[in-house]
Amino acid sequence: MTDAPAELLLDASGIAKHYGAVVALRSASLAVRPGEIHALMGANGAGKSTLVKILTGGVHPDQGTILVRGKPFVGRSPAEARRGGIVSVYQEPALIPDLDIRSNLRLTKSPIEATRHWLAELGLPDLDLTDVVRDLPLASLRIIDLARALAIEPTILMLDEMTAALPANLTERVLEVIGQTRGTARSVIFISHRLIEIGAVCDRATVLREGSTVGVVDVTEGSEDRIVALMLGDIARKGPVTSGASATAAAAARAADAVPRLTARDLTVGSKLSDVTFDLHAGEVLGVVALEGQGQDELFDVLSGSERPDRGELLVDGVARSFRHPADAIRAGLVYVPADRAEALLMQRSVRENIALPFSTQVRAWGPIDVRGERKKVDGAIATLQIDTRAAGEVRRLSGGNQQKVTVARWVAGGVRTMLCFDPTRGIDIGTKQQIYQLLRDLAASGAAVLLYTSELKEIQLACDRAIVIFNGRIVAEIAVADADEATLLRAAYDLRPEELMPEEVASAALTVDDADPAVPS
């Protein structure tokens, strides 16, 4: 890069941040020129969110320098970051639910007339400022949050997944308005999972991988490819790994035309999940791949009985079911292993009680507990999962990996028909991960059906028979395990077509956005 520091609006370099032994950022840099729209990219765990927190206030870096217009930037709080010239629009709107819009504007000292102007530009000209925030739909709130930030005229506007959860017409308006920044004295940092938007609106992109900045790309037609390659690093160049998982049992089950264990048909939840349809057969592990917030949370909430779908049906063994409560799902044989172990376990009780809880409440709701029968099942589960019981008195004293084994064991002890696992290996050590993959394979081999969402793409080939990919609430691809290498999955997760079609496809998609939106300067 040839930019002299003085020419840059934002010049962050050598940023490092550790959380205990975990390195979130190793050496990240981000240089933003005046009047440009700069994309910040990175796969899950690349350190993107940590860098955002450092720039927007709240997190202090261990090392590195941040200059805004050549002056040192201090951001101990969003208020301080704002004084330093950086204003952010977060994924969840920073509006106070119990106040009306006008009061919310007063809190951030945003000029009313300017906000109104931007609201009109963004497609909400008739908004009544006395409306209470709680009563407004999410899409409007995101637009208000953006208009309020624009009205302050920040040096740098940071947009974190601004277009997620916006309908198409508002997305267009947002991209158009952001486009107007180009060539002014101000800049936008744009974070989005939608590569098409990056292509349509951004000038340059900084790519993070494993806590470091690995490249800065000029965004032109077809540069999406290079961005994805940078995000992936070495693994993109490796050939597809042969599957460790055996797909034979599942293939046989499907070939025999058996009734699927679980069928989802046109499941729809608000704007988060649209017409999701798939079959899950006994004896298979079906992987679910999605970037953050593409509707997978809603899918698992529906399947586990925590949320009811607006539309669509669920068939268990060919029979239509509707769950009003997780207990209904559990009775139908659908058990749920969440990523957040605190959601599943009674942290202050013993391993034994935690494992026994699901079936003791089921079998003997009120009467005395069958201690001997319970002990046998619990011991069986502990042995199967090799849970380290040295600290068995209180689950919270176990390691994360062992806690996660307990959340699986509590279902295994009672016998599993269908297990829904939501990122079960998040934040646990590699050895335990291996054990969990093996367990899922063993469960499938013994006739259970497993649905596995994972944020680690390589797990698909280690544990699954096939994978479905969700993007923006829809299933966009189904990939057999033999083809499910990380590069293919990541492309699919970004809703890019297979490699050979890449440049034309993306370019034409980007063009359609431009066509619909003639005001974006090229």
């Binding site: 969840e92 709107p93 119990d98 009061s103």
Partner: protein, 333 residues
Amino acid sequence: MTTSIGSRRSWTDVAGFAASWARRNTWTIGLFGLLIAFLAITKLIQPNYGAPGIQGLAISILPIAFAAVAQAIVVISGGIDLSVGPMMALASVTSAVLMKGQDDLFGVWVVIGVLLLGLLVGAINGGLVVITKVPDIVVTLAMSFVWAGTALLILNTPGGGAAPWIMAIISGPLGNPWVPKALIVLGVIVAVVWLPLRRSTLGLSFYAIGSHRLAAFRSGIAVGPTKIAAYALTGFFSALGGLALTATGGVGAPVPGSYTLQSVAAIVLGGVSLAGGRGGVLGPIIAVMVLALVRTDLFFVGVDPNWSTAVQGAILIGVVMFGSLVAMRKVRA
């Protein structure tokens, strides 16, 4: 809508403002209806209940009304203060001890001093909550023992005295016998302190940190200092409650009774959400009157006072449940 300079505000604007106020304060309006209903019931079972009864009511509710306002402010800000009663005791005994046998002018200084003491004591509560990060309910429960003990150290039995003027400004009517002075004092003080505050950024920040802490932080609000300010203001209104105790009783009250829990009951009935962010101070004041009238009515019909306490509890649950049902209907519709 009303961004244009105020000089051209027409009647339709005023009507629009009134309509939007009514839309947002349905709970308070409903509660006011309940108050009217209870006044009618009182008149029905005790035909000679009239202006003197109203005056008595206004004086008797003055301390608890200030306590309810105090509690409302901290709960709106997302906290709770279990030391409201003991803070009132502290203010009451301090004022009674200092005012006894002194002239009127000195009494004025005592009032100012006690109010400043209230601010300080409240700020200590808030500061401890913010700095220690111990939950509000634990800190203020602990501090309630501290303030109660301090009050007893200052005066271990009811005693001291009140300046004659402070007793005079709350007793009797103002002009019309139906307009008790105590009610005017309450209205003026609350209006002068709360109304401007509510329109200020600080007041908005109280609602903001109670409504959504993270969004408030991201909107640039200094959450800690705002919380301390809310607790300080709670201390201020508790001190007013304490002064009201001294003024209505004529002596300092070191162990004034269950004002803390009554204040919580009043704000819940008054439409303040215990989860924070919602409600005002008018609702709790009306709720205090409703609860006092219930007690009066039950006394008139000859119910054992212990039973009347139980009935108050039942009313509290009933009204709040009814309100939630109505709110649920509104959401579904």
